[in-house]
Structures are given as C-alpha cells and as structure tokens.
C-alpha cells in the first residue's frame, strides 16, 4: 500500500509527456475499472494523471462517412448517439449489454478498451499471477477456470478480455488513434490487444506513455445486420461467458461479406477471419453457419472447467449469424 499523487494535466501533450517521464504514472478518466484495481492494490501508481477534463468528447462524422469517437465519450453517450444507433446498432447493443447505467455514465471509450481481465486469480493478490507479476505462475491454468480462455492462450496466462465494446469494435474494423511524445499514430483495432504469449503483463500494443485519443469507425454498408449476442450466467450485469458480434451482407442467396467476432474466449477480442472468409460466396443457410462456427472454434482448447464454452461459442455463432442473415436485431 503506498500513497499516490493526483495530477490534472492541461493538455493531451502534457498528459503524455508526464506519463512518458514517469513510468509509474497511470491515466485516469472514468476510473470505473482502475479504482477497483487501486482498491485491492493491483496497481500502485506514483501518480494518477486525470485526463477526464481534456477535450476528447466529440463524436464526428469522418470524410469517409464513418465516425470519429473521442476517447472521453462516455459509454452512455456513445450507445445513445443517433449515428451509432442508426449506422452501427451492433456497437450500441454491445455497450448496453455491459455494466450498469451508473457505470456507463462514468466509463469512457478509451478506458473501456483499456480495462483489464476479471480473472479472479489476477484480482486476488494472495495468488501468484504472471499478468500481475511476470514469472510467478498462473494458478488459473490449473484452478477454477470456467470463465477462462479457449482460444489463443499460453501456458503463462489463460485470462480473457472482458470488454463488450471491444468485440463490436473489432467486428467493425475500427482503428485507434493514439498519441505519444513523438506524435499521433494509428493502430488497427485488431492489432491493438495482444495475445498473452510470454508477456501476459502486456494487454495492448500501446507504448509506455501513449494515450488513446480517438476511435475511428469506417463506414460498414451492412452494419444494419449487426448482432451482439451475449451469453452469461444471468440476465443482467455479468461479464460474458461467450459473446458474439456478427454482421452479414447477403445479396440474393449469396453472402458477400461477413463479420464474426467473439468475446469472453481469449485474451483479446477475437476476430474469426477464417470463418468469415469461408462464408463469402456461400449461401446464407444453417449448414454453412454450422461450418463457419466449426472453423471459428477449430483451434479451441479446453481447460479443466471451461470445455462447455467451445460448444456454447459455436451455438452462439450459429444463432447470431442466423439473425444477421435475417437483417439483424436481437438474437
């Protein structure tokens, strides 16, 4: 337990420069996940850099016809934005499927993408954890792991990314705009989160000191067909056991374009590219959806307690695709 300072940088540049010179500093915006972690001493920062008052709260139409979403837009504002609801209904649904009104009022887009796993072993400092302290071990791999990863895990970490929003973002081919001391750069969303590999302590490909400033959504002509299906232990306020985001462009009988992304199954929001490619040119029918689901999960590996998630994911993909094929809506 150590004390930390609280600083309110006056610009993005100021924030980034402070974070670059002090590697123990952390940004805070809505704080809905960070405060949780501070309370159990998962993070022990030297200072909190409060970026919540910086000017990154706009949602603007891009020249390409997409949207540029400031990193400080709250979940509530984003889910209720008229352009998002009309053009990216999948994103709106994914956001509303997560957390509570009170949390969505505080949580920001940038923070949501930075939230860390809810693996109980990571959260409890009484356990070793490679993500918390590299090279100490992963008790989840052999412990109670029903909520853990079935795709892309390593022997060092089997945690999953908890964000609903990220699943929608990866399905929509979003791009992140980030700023470091050297200036701005863009990161395709699909490359933003990392697989655990040998460095599970790193969730993302942000460089030290970098700050997410915006998310850019390209126009997606068939986004109306978007579906977000979240399967969880209860009706409300739970992290996904499995979630699926899908969208389909169907012309006549034939699939022209497909998006399939999975949440709750891996260390990052999981884009099922191979399954998407399989569907292109095929008929939008049950048997093709079944095969796509098989392809999406073909590399899945079960731990002791999460085997059910493999079959559950397949069923969820089939169901979501079937709804997307009908033009989208609630699955």
């Amino acid at each position: 337990m150590k004390n930390f300072a609280y600083v309110r940088p006056n610009s993005v540049e100021d924030a980034v420069s402070r974070a670059t010179s002090d590697r123990d500093a952390l940004f805070i915006a809505g704080g809905t996940n960070l405060v949780d972690r501070l309370k159990v001493f998962l993070d022990e920062p030297s200072q909190l850099l409060d970026v919540s008052r910086l000017a990154m709260k706009q949602i603007a139409t891009t020249n390409e016809g997409g949207l540029k979403i400031g990193a400080l837009v709250t979940n509530t504002a984003l889910a209720n934005n008229i352009d998002v609801r009309n053009n990216y209904p999948l994103l709106s649904r994914a956001i509303l499927a997560g957390a509570s009104q009170q949390i969505r009022n505080m949580a920001t887009v940038g923070g949501n993408l930075m939230q860390r796993t809810r693996c109980p072993y990571y959260y409890d400092t009484a356990f070793p954890c490679n993500k918390r302290q590299p090279d100490t071990g992963c008790p989840a791999a052999t412990g109670i792991n029903r909520i853990h990863a079935i795709l892309g895990s390593s022997d060092r970490c089997v945690a999953v990314n908890p964000s609903d929003m990220s699943v929608a973002m990866v399905a929509l081919d979003a791009t992140l705009e980030v700023q470091g001391v050297e200036g701005k750069r863009e990161i395709p969303f699909v490359d933003f989160h990392r697989l655990p590999g040998n460095t599970p302590e790193r969730d993302t490909n942000l460089e030290p000191g970098e700050l997410i400033t915006a998310v850019i959504l390209p126009p997606v002509s068939f986004a109306q067909s978007g579906v977000y299906l979240k399967l969880r232990d209860r009706a409300s306020y739970a992290f996904a056991l499995v979630s699926v985001a899908t969208a389909l462009e169907v012309s006549g009988e034939q699939i022209k374009n497909a998006r399939i992304a999975l949440g709750g199954v891996a260390h990052k929001p999981w884009r099922a590219t191979e399954a998407e490619e399989f569907l292109i040119g095929k008929a939008a029918n049950k048997s093709n959806f079944e095969q796509a689901a098989e392809i999406a999960l073909k590399d899945a590996q079960a731990l002791a307690h999460n085997g059910f998630k493999i079959e559950l994911s397949k069923r969820a993909i089939r169901r979501a695709l079937a709804v997307s094929a009908q033009g989208g809506g609630e699955a």
Binding site: M1, N3, F4, A5, Y6, V7, R8, I28, G31, T32, V35, D36, L38, K39, L48, D50, S52, T76, A99, S100, Q101, Q102, I103, N105, M106, R118, P120, Y121, D124, A126, P139, G143, I144, R146, L231, D233, R234, A235, S236, Y237, A238, L241, F308, E311, L312, R315, A316, R319
Partner: protein, 909 residues
Amino acid sequence: MPDSLNFQVNNQSHNTKCNPGTSLLSLLRSLGYAGVHRVCESGDCGSCTVWLDDKPIHSCIYPAMQVDSHQITTIEGLENGKLSPMQQAFLDKQGFQCGYCTPGMIMTASKLEYNSEAELRAELEGNLCRCTGYEAIIDSILECGNDNLVKPITAKEGQVGKNIPKQDGPNLVTGKPVYTADWSPPGLLHLKVLRSPYPHARIREINTTKAEALEGVEAVFTHKDVTRRAYSTAGHGAPVPDPLDHYLLDNKVRFIGDRVAAVVAETEAIAAIACELIEVDYEILPHAIDPVTAMKGDVVIHDEPESSQIHDAAHNIAGEVVLEKGDLNTGFAEADLILENTYILPAVQHVHLEPHVSISWLDEDGTLVVRSSTQVPFHCQRLLSELFDIPKEKIRVYKPQLGGGFGNKQEILSEDLCVLATLKTGKPVQWRFTREEEFTATNSRHAMNIRIKTGVKSYGTIVAQEMEAISNTGAYGNHGETVTFLTGCFPLGLYRCANQSYKGTVVYTNTMPAGAFRGYGATQGTFAMESQLDEIASKLNIDPIKLRQQNLITTEDEILIGREEHFHIIGSYALDECIEKVTQALDYDPEKQPETKGHIKRGVGFAATMQASGLAKIHLASVKISLMPNGQYELRTGSVDVGTGSDTSLRQIAAEVLGTTVENITIITADTHNTPFDAGSYASATAFITGQAVNLAAQKLRSHLLKTAAQIIEVNTEELKLDEAKISGSQTTIFLKQLAQEAQKRGESLSVELEHTSDRASLTFAFLGVEVEVDTETGRIKVLRCAEAIDIGKAINPRICHGQATGGLVMGLGYALAEELRFNEQGKILNPGLRTYRIPAASDVPPMEIFLIEKADPYGPFGAKGIGEIGTNCTAPAIANAVAQATGVRLKQLPMIPERVWMAMQKLE
C-alpha cells in the same frame, strides 16, 4: 495536485482537502451525507448512487479528487420542502424493506428512461436489493407521478389485517442517519483484523512491534492478550446447543479468513496498514475442505482441549442428528419402487446489504455500551458478559435500524473484539466488515450432500424414507446441528410415512463457517425431498400434484418425525387450499404435454414446504406496554425489526386490541437497558411469539385501563368502552390523557409487562408453482412466471407479508440459478464480491403471484403464523421440477447454471 476541492453538494458549497485515494462515497459520508450507503465498494450494487452533474454514478468508485467544480446531489438533496415524486412513490408503494438500498434506488430511478416494465427492470441493473424481490420497487417506480393519495387507516376500520405503512418509511426514503454506522461517539477508533492466509495453521510466533510503532495505532491484540475461553458465535439462548469451539483470538487458525490479530487505530486505513506489519510465524498444518475427507480424521480441526460439546472431534464431526420412526426394512420390503438419489447443495451467502458493524464505548457511569447491527441483542449481552466477566446489567446492547440480516446477524461476530478493544483502551471503537469480509469471514448457508432413498407403492403411497445429510459446517460448529436437524425434520415430516430415518452429520472443514440462514436447513432438505417426489411421480407416471396430495400430512396426522422438545404442531392447515390456488393460477393441466418451440422448451414444476413459527418453549418474548401521560401508548419489546416491518406489525396488534391506531403507539425496541428481554428475531418467530406477547399484554392493559377508569369515574367496568381517545360509559367519559394523569396522581401504574413463550410452534405451509423456459442451445433457464400460496393463518399486515413472500422467493431464485461460493483447493473463496457472486437483479425476477391463505391458527396472535423464512424453500425444487418436465433432465445440483443444465442435457442425448 489541486490545493483543495471546490464542489457543491445539494447546492451547498464545500471546500475541502482529501487524500488522493479517497472515494467520493467516503468524502460524502465524512461530510455528513449518511444517506449515501456503503455496501459493495466496487460499483456493483448502487446503494451509494448519487448524481454527478445530474447523472447517476456509483460514488464508491468515483475518486473524490475528480469532484472539483462538479455538482453532487445526494438523497438528502431531493427533498424540497416536500418529498420528491420518486420518494413519495417509494413511500406510497412501500418500495423498501430494510431501506439500505433505498436511497441509491431512488437516485437511480429518478433518472431512468424506459418504455416498458421490461426495459425498466433492465435499466435498474446497477442497483441491488436483497429484501423485496424488486416487486414493490418496480411498482413504486411505475407509479411515480401518479397521484396515489394513501388514506390513513382509522381505528374504526381496525388495524390488524390492514396495509398500515411501515412506520420507518419516511426515514428510509429520505436517507436519514438511522443505521449503526451513521452515528458514533466522539474520539472513535477503528478496528481491523488480520486474517489467516492459510486454511489450517498454528501460530508459532506473532510479532506486533512494527504494527504498534505505526503512527495512529492505538493497540494490537493477539491470542496472548485474551483469556482462553471457548464459546459459540451462534446467537442462541443459554444453554447453547452449539459446540463451544470458538475463541476471541486463538493460537490456531482454521480457515482462510480466520482471525489472527486485531489492530485498533485512528482510521480504518491505518489499521489496515498496521495489519500488514504484523509478523506471524505459522506452522502450516494439513487441511481438509471436503467433509468426506475431513471425517477420516487425518486432520483434526479442533484438537484443543478447551473446546466442548463437540460430537466427535477426532473425526471432525461437530454434531450428529438421528431421527427414526418405524422400521425401514419393513417399509422397503413393502415398496414396489425404490428410488435413491443424491442432491448437492452449495454454500451461499446472505448478502444483507448493511454489513456487520458494531461500535462500543464506556458510558460515564462505566456501563459498557454496544451499538450493533444484530438480530440478537440479548444473547449478545449474555455472551459478552460471560466472555469479559462483566455483570449483564453493566452491559447495554442495542440496535439502531437494521439493513438486513437473514440469519447472519444471529451470530455474534463483530461485537466481541470491539468490546475487547474498548475495555483495553477505554475508548470508543468501531468495527465494520468490508464486503469481502462478509463473503469470506462471516457465515454461509450449509453446503450439503443429501442422499434420499424412498420406497413407494405402485399407486404412489410412500412406505419408507431414508435420508442422510452430510452438512459442511466449516471451521466452527455454530448452528451446525440445529440447522442440520431441520434439514431432515421438516421435509420428511411433511409427508406421511410409517418408516423413516434421518441421519445428519455435521462436519468441520477448513472453510468459512456455515451458520443461520433464512430457512435454516429446511431449504436444503426441501430441494432434495421435492425433487425426489417428482422423480417418483415421473417413474410411476402419476401427476406430481396427485402424488403429493396422496402423501402430504393433513390435520389428522401427527408429525411423524422430529424431536419432542421442538413441539411442532399443525395449529392450522390450509395446504390443500394452497395447492388449489397455485395450480389454478398457473392453469395447470396434468394432461398437457410440455411445449417445445425450436430450441426453447417449456415446463411447469411445483414444490411444497413447511417451516415452524419460532421455537416452542424456548423462544421467550417479554413486552411492556403502557399508557403514557400524554394519552398515547408506549410499547417496549426486545425484538428486532431486521427490516421486515415487524415494528409496524407489532404496533398493529397492540392498536387493534386497544382500539387505536399505530400512530398512537410509540415503540422502543431491542435495547437491553430499555426494553424487556426478547430472544431476538430469528426462526420466523417475531409475529408469532412476540406478536402474541403484545396481544396478551395489550389485552391485559385494556382490562386494566377499563378497571382503573371504572374506579375513577365510579361506574361498572362492563359498561365502559375504550376508543382512540377516551373511555366512555353511557353517561360519563374520561379521556386517556386524563386517565393517565389521574392514575399517576394515585400512584398507579398503567403499564403491563408480560412474558410469553409458546408451547407449540405452529407450522406454516407453502406451495409454489413455476413455469420455466429452457434454452436447449445454451442451457439457460428463464422463469416465466410463478405463483406461491402461503398458509399464513392471518396476515397481520398483508403488504408486509407479501414482501416477505416475494423477497424469500427471489432469494430462493438466486440459490436456484446463480449463487454459489466457489472455493479453491485451499478453501479460499474465489468470488468474494458482488460482481462475481451475483444476487438476482430486477431483470432476473419473473412476475410473481402471491396468495396469502388465511385460516386462523389457534396459537398465534389473531391467528397469525410465521412467514419470514418459508418463502425461500420452494423456488429451487420447483424450478428443477419444471426443467425436468420440460427437458427430461433431472438436475440434482444447485445452482442450475446454464453450463450444468446444458451438460446434463448433453448426457441425456
């Protein structure tokens, strides 16, 4: 860092400094906004909801440092000369019980936008309530803005049987500082406990030097500082039936979370840091977390000679219950079908929103005062007196408003170390449990494995029942044997059968102790028995309702199993009517095939249960009722309103007898120095036993008043009538105020004090039916609707009874579908928070139809029986039975989470 924070709360400017680690919740409470309630501290329950610039947020996860230049509104800011429309709606529709979630609920609800009830329920997901089952809350919100003028109920209309508003309502909807932690004497110190990281270890050495040296630390206590005296944390009357196996602080720890040492410091934060500075050398011992392993005796959890009343310490058996009737062999020999199953029940937690919290100090005259959130102030006083060798009259224990208990506050968990610290330091001390401590270091419902073997005739008559329960009592045996007794006694007793046996084995393990929890063992046994009956019905191809009707006890039967000293009796019986109501409400047709639509299957299921009203001959209630000089009455009772509304119901009983209204009766409760003894509020006893004490005392006072009036105005008692204001004869009248003053002059007391125990604990019966939908692709169970009828004798206050029923049902829903404490191989609880251990939210709750069947009981006040616990018992078995009807899959393990359902279906295929 900004020098200071400038912000507004309820339009009042504040300028303050605070530590960067402070939450807005802590800051607001320190500024006196006590209506902001501390519950989960993780943004999961909504009890601390305030508006930040008009938007609801969880103040517990909002850093206070960010509040600069913002506008905060708390519950205290909603009133503007009168209640806000939402506060008024909650008051009118009584959208609360204990009130602990209420301010947050109102703050969230005031800002909700919704188009339908379903949307409203979904939008309310950030606010949890454990008492109401949400029905009254949803009604309140839906009615907000409608003009629902509630007419007061007059004395002429009578008070019993009427929906008199819970009298604490105005305090609760406005967030008044009425709970234990909302007030403390000046100079308060805070206590924190260092808890064991090991499931089983002996403390070789413990060094507190560094902790003591920390600035702000007042004292550190270890086992070396206390007298070694075994006791039970269970709140039972003396002589306690429980093993005496717990110590204030011990040289041995028996579960992860067990007490190691206590620190008293100026702030909670300093105390917490000091705990980390205590150096402990543990001798780690082998441990057992599974009862079957524990019974082998390779590990002995209670090897200390000072502990007593343990059944077989060498095999970790805390207690054993054996009940027998008839002859099993004969019974099974007669049977056409013998069915044997094992049912597995998890440990679950109470999740009363207000945590355990106690404050103790020494009064000017040296009296030790304990202000505590307890269901059992008198048992607590007795235990403290024994532990610290202080005469009872020198210890005052009282409770302010309670924010829920559900049995977990029928334990003495936080008072003892507080008192130790006050006695050693001479200063006021508070100990408040964190939510994590609630989950890891209080009590759970007993996890059990229950095996039942049933013999039946082909036409459905039960001829033999053998039941065996292995009950995991955790590291300490509090409530173990009594809970496990009810596991067999009620479910077996409900069905007529000549040959029965029950064996309950209460086993110590190195896990958090189990204790008292609404339903008290009957809940577990009911799941097993009611599941078993449907299995039999299905095997014999008999309608499960018919099978039950054929075997249920009736008024002609004596209860076949149980212990004589418990004296359960069928005082009144309306279970047949309950069954009729429920089957009608669900349009039940035994011939109807379950529906299937794609991957969705539907089914209906039922369950019956019974639960006693208090403990016969044991549960003692004394009350005192007086006519005061102002012409109004005062009722003093030692009973505790846990949040249920019993303080209102008790006044209704008195008011009915005295021909007045509840407004004319002041109530003083649960204070060992100011109220007569009451065993406390547990075992569904308050209405039945304390209520009857009030009834009898009020009757006695009534006669006494009439007699006194007769003497004063010199007429015959027979011709006098008592009403709200006066006693009148045909010619003369004396006002109650006059009467009181006249009596005072004559030195006569217009006061009756009376003690009551019941010779019989009348049984309450209940019957529940549910319709469910099973998604065969995901295993998800959705309860579509349910109907429950409770054979309650008489509803003193129907709305309050209704709230007990819906609240119990939804608590049962959590047990059925979601809740489970998950332990790792060390016995460490892996889900000690409201995000990972989730209780039902409004959107999880189906429409509920409740029938209160009134057939007066001869032993209860106005015919009333207990209703506090029974509602919890039927939900899980009724759902399991409905799932079996829908899918053919029999789920024998709770909770019925989707993956279990789904895997069971896979197996069937």
